[in-house]
Amino acid sequence: MFRHNALRYAVLVVLLAAALFQAFTAEYFGLEILTEILILAILVLALDIVAGFGGMVSLCHGALMGVGAYAYALLSAKAGIAPPLAMAGAVALTGVTAWAIGAICSRSHGIYFIMATLAFGQMAYSYVFEALVFGGDDGLGGIARLDLGLFGIDLNDSRSFALFCLAALGAVYGAAVLILRSGLGRSLSGVMHNEQRMRALGLTVWRVKADVFGLSGMIAGLAGALAAQHIMYISPGLLSWTVSGEALVVVILGGLGTLVGPLVGAAAFVVLKHELSGLTSYWHLVVGVILIAVVMSRANGIFGWIEARWGDRIERRVADATRKPEPEEATSDA
């Protein structure tokens, strides 16, 4: 079960402040990077829900994001459906796809679960690559962004689009907290702690896994629909398993099962990528070394490391100051 604590709130506030500062002060390139971070953050939140809170380490979340991106592109550009409806459709379609994958994979555990999800991801990748409607290798272009002219907002402006993605991320974070704190979220944590016992108590375990995987898929689909609008062009590379792998790296780098950690991870990863790729073409190597260092340190990612160092101290200070055992607030700050 997910809980906020003083440190988590503090990190959320810092992240939000940094994102807002960047959104209002940065020029075009900085805004592009910010948007990239925000969309990746949505994807890794989706992944953290299943991997960090359900023990379902998925290697198809990149592909799910791709499903969302293609669904949006096809529905809006090819089928001529209004962008808001196309977005809702993309989210729903990705959710249904993910639910089916979750239901089928629910009986496998550990490495077998990873391989099963990878197989589904690869199937989606080859299908999109081969099928003509998807534009094959060339991909699809001319994807329109949502029209928020009604509210006086032009999403074709980079700054507005970045803020739009920030709002989406905030909504997704709030939804993730609500999911994890619901009856379903508690059962999910029960299943992760002790699947056998949950079954013995009468829980239909596969349904819980499939339902949560479906919800996570909806979030990944939203990330995809936003990514398609961001780049305004999509190609099968979006569904490549390396995207799923990268998302997993970000979750582990940030801190599995903490929600806040993956947000930190997304920011660190994208910034690192852009800084390093300017200096050397071996930037993957550097990221790899950092990942190894983080994993070897035995901390739960960057955020786990921060939490282990300062979590208790901050918690105690806040407890002393307020004398209130636990914050009950369920809404988000990011």
């Binding site: 619901s182 944590s189 009468g202 375990v205 339902d211």
Partner: protein, 247 residues
């Protein structure tokens, strides 16, 4: 309420359950005695469906449930505790009980509300915590409570599904005679219509709660009767002498 007919199970050449037929009336408290390796736990595993028998059938409240999966049997009112603690380690006592109560009340899959905040769930959690004396530890994590209290929680979690039949596999194993006595007193205070099947290693303790006694040896029922009969039997004297092989 619960019945097995000619239940049979082998692991390769090892015949662990031999034609076991057993019948529990509603509200009956039956204790299964037997030495280590007699097949008591394996018998439980077949009752709840974690293991499928090679032959025979299991009947719950008059219905054949032999083909039903574990979760479905549990929802029909069959609940068990384990010989080895099978708890939700990172969670509190309250959350452990809450997970079970949530499944029973159908709140375990709700997306729009927190199961532990649900009044129905809370009521069960509090009632069970009273019943197995967990109130003083309700907010403690499993890792923070003693082994003896964990044994109580092990049964509490099973009880929080509000079962028709409660199966307990050596609920007091490893906790010492004093605490075991107290635990059996708690069991005696549970509602009289709850059917209980208890695996117990210690004969003396068995007499605390048993309406009826079954003795298993090498997977076979070698005694089925009342505690008074058990007390006088040559067979159980042999148990005291530890010469099970002669039985």
């Amino acid at each position: 309420m619960l019945e097995t007919r000619n239940l049979d199970k082998s692991f390769g050449a090892v015949h662990v359950t031999r034609n076991v037929s057993m019948k529990l009336e509603r509200g009956e408290r039956r204790v299964i005695l037997g030495p280590n390796g007699a097949g008591k736990t394996t018998f439980f595993n077949q009752l709840v469906g974690e293991l499928s028998p090679d032959g025979g059938s299991v009947h719950l409240a008059g219905e054949d449930v032999t083909a039903l999966p574990v979760a479905k049997r549990a929802r029909r009112g069959l609940s068990r505790s384990y010989q080895k603690n099978t708890l939700f380690d990172g969670l509190t006592v309250e959350e452990n009980l809450g997970l079970a109560a949530a499944v029973h009340t159908g709140k375990a899959t709700r997306l729009w509300s927190d199961s532990l905040a649900d009044p129905e769930v809370r009521e069960i959690v509090e009632e069970v915590a009273e019943q197995v004396n967990l109130m003083p530890h309700i907010h403690a994590k499993v890792s923070q409570i003693s082994y003896g209290v964990r044994r109580q929680l092990e049964v509490g979690v099973a009880l929080a599904t509000r079962p028709l039949v409660l199966l307990m596999d050596e609920p007091t194993s490893g906790v010492g005679p004093e605490m075991s006595k107290r635990f059996h007193a708690l069991l005696n205070n549970l509602p009289r219509d709850l059917t209980m099947l208890i695996i117990e290693h210690d004969m003396d303790l068995a007499f605390d709660v048993a309406d009826t006694i079954t003795v298993l040896n090498y997977g076979e029922v070698v005694f089925d009767g009342l505690p008074e009969q058990a007390r006088g039997s040559k067979l159980l004297k042999d148990i005291y002498l530890g010469s099970w092989e002669d039985a």
